[in-house]
């Protein structure tokens, strides 16, 4: 972990940072996802920790089985603006996702504005995250040059119920929970 540590040069002293700009963004993306999972009472485990990459691989732990997650955190998009956001995908990502036997979701956390000191604002009513996450299921999506994330798929605690139903379906349980019993 220490190998990825870079010290930003232009912040005011004393400099307390141990994460680079990319690393800080990636951690923020994971922390945001964790907070949504926590709200829904669902566990989350990172499967690889590298402080200086933008993509984080993780597992959402539902009662029946895990779903897989790829989280990206970016400042390149606006929260309100456009119908979709497209992210380039490596071809080896697609082969990994298509081979997965449980659902894989791509989560894009949009930071808007992309200004690190303003990511979290402490307003009188509470804590305001200047961020929104959008998602798309990718294990069943055909390979293309980019991952198209619809902006109408906002990640909330309710989304996790939808994902849990997808996981159940992999094990023969249809939506509504009535099917599959023999």
């Amino acid at each position: 972990m220490m190998s990825g540590m870079t010290i930003p040069r232009q912040l005011d002293p004393p400099d307390i940072a141990t994460l680079g700009a990319n690393g800080a963004k990636a951690r923020f993306g994971v922390a945001y996802l964790r907070s949504i999972c926590s709200q829904a009472g669902v566990g989350f485990t990172e499967t690889s920790i590298d402080e200086d990459v933008l993509a984080i691989d993780g597992k959402i732990e539902f009662a029946v089985a895990d779903a897989r997650i790829q989280v990206k955190c970016t400042g390149k998009f606006k929260i309100n603006g456009g119908q979709t956001a497209t992210w380039p995908a490596d071809s080896h990502w697609w082969s990994k996702w298509h081979g997965c036997k449980v659902p894989v979701y791509f989560v894009m956390l949009v930071l808007d504005p992309d200004d690190q000191p303003r990511w979290v604002q402490h307003v009188p009513e509470g804590t305001l995250h200047r961020a929104a996450a959008f998602w798309v299921r990718v294990d069943q999506m055909s390979e293309s040059s980019g991952i198209v994330v619809p902006k109408n798929q906002r990640l909330t605690a309710d989304t996790l119920h939808e994902w849990a139903a997808d996981v159940d379906a992999c094990f023969g349980l249809q939506a509504g929970g009535g099917g599959g019993v023999r």
Binding site: T45, A63, D66, F171, G172, R182
Partner: protein, 393 residues
């Protein structure tokens, strides 16, 4: 889902223990009351008491690790314990521990290690033969059937601490559910009939091994005197042979060994003897006594034709007025698997129920009557008691 400690556990546990297979998981879950539902593309949902776990149909380490984690959560048990239970569901595991005074970390002399492994194999081989046909002295007459069973035994990784070698004996999967049903008549005085499955021979071998260790300890080592002829008979009835004692003495003779212990973890899937000591420890100072017992067994003539042992597979009491009940013992007698009916007076018959519930094998001495076309039977046993109770005249 459980917290970080549990999550870290997955890595540590699976780092040290091989991940279970899908089939091992399915057997374990079936045995523990989980119900498999009709499958989907990835696998099937297994349910129990409102809990649901998705079990993959194909090998997938990530998904299997997820199943184990969920089982540990459902059972409120440690992950490592669950992995062990899953992997050893159908294995009797005998831990052979040599308490060494050799103070090099995690090591014993190669000579000693080799001696333990060789001698343990000989002890098990001798036991597999006497489990077929009790005798004081085997010589070269090892049972082919017994040898075939010993050939299936595995040696696990040595465990840290004292030097521990696990010996794994695979058992056949029990057929169907346990037929054990609660008795309607708690006093067992009324009419009743009960059957349960017989003990697999592989289990009989390991049980005989454990009871042989116990018999040597209680009849040879603990009395701390020259073994007597009566004791020799009792040893043989429990499966001890000259070869067993000789191999055991060979381990105790090793200079670097302070004591030798055998403890058995019985396979969960096959009902285990509840009262047999789980562990028997013999001090290396007992080597000369065990050697003497070996010498005596060479000279001893023991006729085991009136004595047999095994688990109770049937209990019958057909008329409330009948002062006798009848049990059936599943045994291997002179190389042949057989069932022998034993007639018992009611007080003893009622005790037999307790022994049966506890999974205890019993030892019977008496004249075995052979009537053509009918089961073997003993009408007036001279004695009938659990084999783990030593009968000291």
């Amino acid at each position: 889902m459980p917290a970080l400690a549990c999550r870290l556990g997955v890595v540590a546990v699976f780092g040290e223990q091989a991940i279970p297979t899908v089939n091992e998981l399915r057997s374990y879950m079936r045995f523990n009351g989980w119900n498999e539902q009709s499958p989907g593309p990835t696998g099937a949902l297994w349910t129990r008491n409102g809990k649901r776990i998705g079990v993959p149909s194909e090998p997938d380490n990530e998904l299997i690790a997820g199943v184990v984690k969920r089982l540990a959560f459902a059972e409120q048990r440690d992950l490592a314990d669950v992995v062990t239970s899953v992997k050893y569901l159908l294995f009797d595991v005998t831990h052979l521990r040599a308490d060494s005074d050799y103070r090099y970390a995690d090591a014993i002399p190669l000579e000693t290690g080799a001696k333990i492994v060789n001698s343990a194999r000989t002890m098990l081989r001798a036991t597999a033969t006497t489990a077929r046909w009790e005798r004081a002295h085997i010589g070269s007459n090892y049972s082919k059937y017994g040898d075939d069973v010993v050939a299936q035994a595995l040696m696990g990784h040595t465990q840290k601490g004292s030097y521990v070698i696990p010996v794994l004996m695979p058992l056949p999967e029990p057929e169907g559910a346990d037929l054990h049903q609660p008795a309607l008549d708690l006093d067992h005085e009324q009419v009743e009939f009960h059957r349960s499955p017989s003990e697999p021979f592989e289990r009989r071998v390991i049980r005989t091994f454990a009871q042989s260790m116990q018999a040597v300890k209680e009849l040879v080592v603990d009395p701390a005197r020259e073994p007597r002829a009566d004791d020799m008979h009792e040893l043989v009835y429990r499966g001890v042979s000259r070869e067993f004692c000789y191999a055991l003495a060979g381990i105790l003779k090793q200079r670097s060994i302070g004591e030798f212990e055998a403890s058995v973890d019985w396979a969960q899937a096959v009902p285990a003897p509840a009262t047999m000591p789980r562990s028997v420890t013999i001090d290396s100072e007992a080597e000369s006594l065990v050697s003497k017992a070996a010498d005596k067994l060479r000279q001893q003539k023991v006729d085991p034709s009136r004595v047999f042992s095994g688990t109770i597979v049937q209990l019958r009491h057909e008329s409330p007025d009948d002062p006798f009940g009848e049990i059936a013992i599943s045994t291997v007698r002179q190389g042949h698997a057989s069932e022998i009916l034993v007639r018992l007076r009611m007080p003893l018959y009622q005790k037999a129920w307790d022994w049966h519930y506890q999974g205890r094998a019993v030892l019977v001495e008496g004249t075995v009557r052979r009537v053509p076309g009918k089961p073997l039977r003993v009408d007036e046993p001279f004695r009938c008691h659990p084999v783990d109770e030593m009968f000291l005249a």
